[in-house]
Amino acid sequence: MTEREIKRGIKEISPIDVYMLLPRTNCKECGEANCMAFATKLVNLEVSIEQCPPLLEEEHEEEYNNLREMLAPAVKAVTIGTGDSSVKIGGKFVMYRHEFTYHNPLPIAIDVTDETPLEGSSPSEEGLIERVRKVGDFTYNYIGRDIYLDMIAVRSTSNDPKTFKSAVENVAEATKLPLILCTFDSNVMEAGLAAVKDRRPLIYAATEANWMDMAELALMYHCPLTIFAPNNLTLLRSLARTVIEYGVEDLVLDPGTFTGEGLSDTVNNFTMIRRNACKGGDELLSFPLIGTPITAWAGDKAPEDVVAWREAYTASMLVSRYADLLIMHKLDGWVQLPNVIWRFNIYTDPRKPVSVETGLRTFGKPDENSPVLLTVNYALTYFTVESDIKNCGADCYLIVADTEGISVESAVAGRYLTAETIADAVKESGIEQKVNHKCLIIPGMAARLSGETEEELKDEWRIIVGPRDSSGIAKLLKEKWPPKEEE
């Protein structure tokens, strides 16, 4: 453990602590009403100290530096890449998500090797350029947001400097994504670095054997440096201490990812490192962690799907247990999708409510003949429905019923969504003044409430049962809207 006094966690810092270091002139230059309001936003990390212009003046230099120190994350933030083609990793303030929130969603890097031919020689063989392009093109629209893969890891399997250099050049030309260069041979690494002098790739990796040459390269090319000490945290710490002393500032730590035997050690190593960084102020371990689920493929003779399966679930466990960056191999959608979604989820702010506001929403330009749909106020349900409606470009009304933030299926089962609550939602929405029809589309998961709901609405409204999944809204509107005259 470090000798230094343990830094206070972000939640232990009060706005007063911050306020005392601000100029306290209430000048409003930051856009806040006064310095106390700015201080409150600072401790919630909603603003940065650079947004206080007077603080940046020379006379406040000491306070500025103290504030920087006070508000610094427990895990250092490290930038890989430059400018628009860069990614920030680490920068964590807390160990547990519920203590505050996690920052800097972990990037997922996909590997290519320097022995992959530039173009595949047959349609089934994937060339280097094609694989890099696939990584760049990977995208999924999740609740209205596009999510992507983030980086390319170029591995040298040739162990030949020229071959590696040429592969790195080709990759760099084909993509703007930030890069990780992977080899344990410092001559090969240098050849690769020379090819991307201005790209600031992550060096993977310094080991017990090569640390001095790798540290030298990190200094020469101004690159962040990974330290790799599989299942040996004393070595990891010792190497960190050594390369820091050597002058390298931006480190990434790899305690090794074991996907088979040793999974328990992996989970424990990541946890112990993060515990020491966040709760113990251990500065030698206060760096981002890299997980390598790709090691599932190292020396395993199991069928491809079995290895890919193991890579996929190990990755998800490391998303939860403190990885700040992952290197993976299998690019297939079924492997990556659960992980990019889980990564997106775990980095959302846990203080955000589970429910959205109830009431009436409009999409496009609805008129008195437009369809009226109903959903519930569980945030994830609402955003899914919202994005499906937007994607199909429908002009319509959407009534959001109050189920205390519970999804449709559970709300029906638990009686949070009943004929009565639907009827109330319809009446309170004021929709009756906006449309000249009385047809309500309810979620397919609530189908069994349709009869009762018509009764509850005194048979004035007709219920149309919608799809069980909102992806079917487009089809429903096409086929069933406008509704046919009642038989």
């Binding site: 453990m1 000798e3 230094r4 006094e5 530096n65 547990y96 998500r97 519920h98 999740y142 591995r155 399997t157 344990f184 599989p230 040996n232 945290l233 070595l235 710490r237 010792s238 201490r241 050594t242 090794g256 990812t257 074991f258 088979g260 035997e261 040793g262 328990s264 050690d265 992996t266 989970v267 424990n268 112990m272 020491n276 709760k279 251990d282 030698l284 790709i294 090691t295 190292a298 020396g299 399966w309 679930y313 998800s316 466990m317 939860s320 959608g333 079924w334 999708l337 659960p338 979604i341 959302t348 846990p350 994830l380 999804s407 559970s410 089962a413 638990g414 009686r415 999944d469 992806s471």
Partner: protein, 410 residues
């Protein structure tokens, strides 16, 4: 940069430097193990000790220091915490000598540390997996249906298949047909189904109601009576039952007939505690499990994950009203459209996408502290059992296996 400017930051930061050095002097007195040679190096003016972050301006003017030529040792010591609280141990099922008819019993809970913090201590009991069976034909995603379609509609045969072929530790009998909006099957009919399952398999059981706060108590009370002494888990008891004035009756029945209550609340620890307080009037602490709600990956799993982490940490820190083993209905993962929907060739095969969805939903709740899982897909169940087995051990990592992964042609 002029000479004057160059000097300025040093003067400016000198007080801070002195403060740092004074800290080390204190340490010299306190920590007799500090190597004297090392200390001297660190105390050279202008040389920044590795543990001290250098303010940016100071760094720019620090004189070049001697680079290390060999690895500087830095021992790793894990920071181990003490937890005043412990999760209750709950025994599921009862053998003949214990007043039931099960072939074995299952103990869950008892944790004294967060889940799989092996460096703080082992988990006393392995998390377990129950497989869901239904008492009628139900809509199931293709990836699951293909494994159970032979037995759908025959609850006892389904339970047998789940135990013998898919290795279920427990069976959850979901009495869906009792739902007034589905078939409104009577408590007597439900009881018959449960009796058939008790005959067909000898693992401990979980009884799942239809979710109706008025109907479930009627069914549960009847089933509890017939399954006397079996230590069956009833899924679930809710605050809605309390609002309907029916909670006390069913809680008392579970206690009278020697069963276990699963207390369900929707992502709200205050309500979870409130429900437990109501149950304490009738049931001992070791007869209560909690279901804090499992949302599917992509549909709120992060809320579930965080509430489970919070609950477990609060329980270990001494909140006795949360010191119960927790159950996750990980079958809920299939509510995610990404688990079953056709999405285009780049997301295929669906037959892997679905079960990996259930696997990842369950695995992450395993890391958050869940003790008992309700699951469905055979591959997800198999993976859970394998991972649990691996996580229960420690010290099996072989560094040589991955030491050269960078060079591997995959």
């Amino acid at each position: 940069m002029s000479g004057d400017e160059k000097d300025k930051p040093i003067i400016k930061f000198r007080p801070k430097l002195m403060e740092m050095i004074s800290k080390f002097q204190e340490l010299e007195l306190e920590d007799v193990e500090i190597d004297v040679g090392e200390l001297e190096i660190q105390l050279q003016p202008g040389v920044v000790a590795p543990q001290i972050p250098a303010p940016p301006i100071q760094k720019a003017v620090a004189p070049a220091k001697a680079k290390p030529t060999e690895i500087m040792q830095a021992e790793f010591t894990p920071l181990v915490m003490e937890y005043p609280g412990q999760i209750a141990e709950v025994k599921l099922g009862a053998t003949k000598s214990e007043g039931g008819t099960r072939g074995n019993t299952i103990m869950i809970g008892g944790s004294k540390t967060p889940a799989f913090y092996s460096f703080e201590g082992p988990l006393p009991h392995k998390p377990m997996v129950a497989l869901d069976v239904f008492d009628m034909e139900v809509r199931l995603p293709k990836a699951i249906r293909m494994h159970v379609k032979e037995v759908m509609g025959d609850t006892a045969a389904w339970a047998k298949l789940a135990v013998e072929k898919y290795g279920a530790d427990l069976i959850t009998v979901n009495l869906l047909s009792t739902d007034p909006l589905i078939k409104d099957a009577s408590p007597a009919e439900a009881t018959k189904t449960v009796e058939e399952v008790l005959q067909a398999v000898d693992v401990p059981l979980i009884i799942g109601g239809c979710g109706d706060p008025k109907k479930d108590p009627l069914v549960f009370e009847k089933v509890a009576e017939v399954a006397e002494g079996e230590r069956v888990v009833f899924s679930s008891l809710t605050l809605d039952m309390s609002d309907a004035g029916l909670l006390n009756g069913v809680a008392k029945a579970l206690n009278d007939h020697g069963h276990i209550a699963l207390a369900f609340t929707a992502l709200d620890l205050n309500r979870a505690k409130e429900l437990n307080r109501k149950l304490y009037e009738f049931l001992p602490k070791d007869r209560i499990l909690m279901d804090l709600t499992t949302a599917a990956l992509g549909y709120g799993l992060e809320y579930s994950f965080t509430i489970h982490e919070r609950a477990r940490m609060a329980a270990l820190m001494g909140d006795s009203e949360l010191q119960h083993p927790v159950l996750s209905g990980s079958t809920n993962a299939w509510a995610a459209r990404e688990a079953w929907m056709k999405m285009g060739p780049e997301w295929e095969p669906r037959l892997l996408r679905g079960p990996i969805w259930e696997t990842i939903t369950a695995l992450n709740l395993l890391l958050a502290g869940v003790d008992l899982f309700m699951m469905m897909h055979p591959a997800a169940v198999r993976t859970m059992r394998e991972v649990i087995e691996k996580l229960m051990g420690a010290g099996k990592a072989k560094p040589e296996k991955i030491a050269d992964w960078v060079n591997v042609r995959m």
